[in-house]
Symmetry: C2
Subunit: 418 residues, 2 copies
């Protein structure tokens, strides 16, 4: 396994005043009172109290930060998102103001709070938008056929997942039970999954809803999507393999999907925007991000997010989000082109992020070639996850002035089947 | 097309005091004040006001009926469901009490109110549990292969659908746009779906939640599921055919799913319980409803629901729910066997209900053999739905004393693509 390729940046480097991701936390003395926090280094700012103390926001914006979840902020729309972010930036960049919130005890050590699921997940959709991942999986499962299905280059393939089992980073993941058919067997057996995997992904959080019957075009992306977060779409490959024909993944995915505790607003990621890979097939107009005007507001809707996957603390992969074929703007346009409405809190994920290189693969299925080539490290040999294994995704993106924007980590430890 | 095989029963026959389904309605003078109603014939009882006037329920039960949706009632659990139902039954069967609520203006004509989506849909899952439907579809799409996939007799196949586009009966359905690949073409085209279909289904509404990591066994069905309703899972067959390999249906289904305005509590359907079809394959223990003890509380978890599908008023099919291979109890056990949690408001649907006979098929795909054999009627010829077409599902089940329990209808009219 490779070592980290750069000196480890500090929390202050990754979560400085140009970042300011939002989360929801509780403190030990008030476990029933969730509060909105903004991360600054390895501290969390009590955002509602700070904005109140400093008198930074007028009604109704002020109420968005004193809510017990991000739901009202998400629903408030892009102009409000900008106003609130500007106010919080003032609070943490002006030394006098920062001193006042610190004196008032509103800047707490992250180690002393418990992070909660920061918003109510409405619908959860998972895409399949890495060409490298889809090609690798296709080669493993259909060695004699075309690795990509005929539709793959024409639309971002996706499916609905279970919103009710989206959990916040740190939540233990119990090894799921399920049906699987052992190789060569006629009949399925029941038991704990023996091929438990990760999927390193990025999730996008919808703020502004849309009406039923209304398609949201690609250039509506920034008005509807509030921000993004790392996401681990845990997968029981044996369960999935037996169940998924003809209606897609179901129980192989629905037992848990972990999201980071911190939602990074798109506004923090302007420097990270990048053009997606060259389009090898002509696209229908609603997905064509090469058409005149489609990139008027920037280089494109790709994001240069550098993801690191750790197994029990050791780096096992470094998938580059910039390699994703389909962008989040295309995914949003596709998701709604049939008139399906968006709700505040809709979450849609990129699909496993994999790059072209062997150390850039976002799941064990690819890293071990479906269990044929175990990976090794201080943790020993692994094909799929063992009980007690802990998987952690981190990432950073280029920020203003050569700085870095860190994404909140998503971590989870496997507990034995119940 | 066949005529209705029996004399049309009246609303009083179908929605008598042994039925009492729950819905949520508004009146023209208070369109922003949804209220819980109970259907009696072609009238709706203002349930919260009636229970208050008659002093029929103590706290906290009384509050369950004054809520603006069924959510608190669903969450209250089976003992509360029984107490509330018993109280409402008293209100409508005791002549003095019925006279008092009538005098108080609490029994309104159904034609004067607007029905609303009665509960907040948490996750929506759609199964595929009719052997006749799955066999017919398999024969149409894989004429040279086995009609059923190898997993079909071992588990109830299902997938997650879009909860945010579940709409109440009567909501217009806009013809969805989407990608499809015309027969013989290499490249897809974009446009309004030309193969818009219905799926006649029954939906089950979860009341009592379960914890993450906890499997709900089959005999937990009555404790967790509050009731059922008719459901039409509108499907764009051309969109679905192009998109669904390898991750299942997505935009072909997500534009709209219609549910009846009335949720029939399971308690009203005790007489309708029936044994499911004989199991042709041995089942794993968590799904084995033939094992000793599995049917201790009754004949089985099938329901004898007689569904009628009308196109522009004419009967085009009469699918029997009793023919479903997999029961709602098995679906619930399967859905949670991997530890996936249930939330109040989870909705899961049976999949298209089809019986063995030609007039018992629950979708146009089967009725017209994938568009090859149009159906005809006063509406002319149809392969798939045309703009302006109205589809209505109704159903009844055997009730106490030879009576009938009607299910609330689900209806929708196709509007042209936007």
């Amino acid at each position: 396994m490779s070592e980290a390729s750069t000196t480890e940046p500090t929390a202050d480097d990754l979560f400085g005043p140009d970042n300011l991701p939002y989360g929801v936390y509780t403190t030990p003395d008030a476990p029933e009172r969730p509060r909105i926090g903004v991360r600054l280094g390895d501290r969390v700012l009590d955002a509602g109290a700070a904005a109140g103390l400093l008198n930074l926001l007028e009604a109704p914006d002020a109420g968005l930060l004193t809510a017990p979840s991000l739901d009202p902020l998400l629903a408030a729309g892009r102009p409000a998102w900008s106003r609130v972010r500007a106010a919080l930036r003032t609070a943490v960049t002006d030394p006098d103001r920062l001193a006042r919130v610190t004196e008032a005890g509103l800047l707490l050590p992250l180690s002393g709070v418990t992070m909660r699921l920061p918003f109510t997940v409405a619908d959860y959709v998972d895409f399949y938008s890495s060409e490298h991942h889809a090609t690798n999986v296709g080669r493993l499962f259909r060695p004699d056929g075309e690795p990509l299905t005929p539709n793959w280059k024409h639309l971002p393939i996706g499916y609905h997942g279970r919103a009710g089992t989206v959990v916040v980073s740190g939540t233990p993941v119990v090894r799921p039970g399920g049906q699987r058919r052992p190789p060569g067997a006629e009949e399925p057996v029941f038991g704990p999954s023996t091929r438990l995997d990760i999927e390193a992904e990025v999730g996008f959080v919808v703020g502004t809803p849309s009406r039923l019957g209304e398609a949201v075009p690609m250039d509506g992306f920034r008005d509807h999507v509030f921000g993004l977060c790392l996401l681990n779409d845990w997968s029981a490959r044996d369960v999935q393999a037996w169940e998924y024909v003809p209606l897609g993944p179901f129980l192989g995915k629905s037992f848990a999907t972990s999201v980071a505790a911190w939602i990074t607003p798109l506004e923090a990621l302007e420097e990270a925007r990048t053009a997606p890979p060259e389009r090898t097939h002509p696209l229908l107009p609603y997905l064509d991000d090469t058409a005149p005007g489609a990139r008027d507001d920037g280089p494109g809707h790709g994001y240069d997010l550098r993801i690191t996957v750790r197994l029990n603390g050791e780096i096992i992969a470094e998938p580059p989000f910039s390699a994703m074929y389909w962008t989040a703007a295309q995914q949003l346009a596709h998701l709604t082109v049939n008139g399906a409405s968006l709700r505040t809190g809709d979450l849609y994920a990129s699909g496993t992020v994999s790059g072209p290189e062997p150390h850039q693969l976002g799941c064990l299925l690819e890293l071990t070639r479906n269990g044929r080539d175990p990976i090794t490290g201080g943790f020993g040999k692994r094909t799929f996850l063992e009980d007690g294994d802990e998987v952690t995704l981190t990432a950073w993106a280029p920020g203003p002035g050569g700085g870095r924007i860190g994404l909140g980590e998503v971590t989870g430890r496997i507990e034995p089947a119940g």
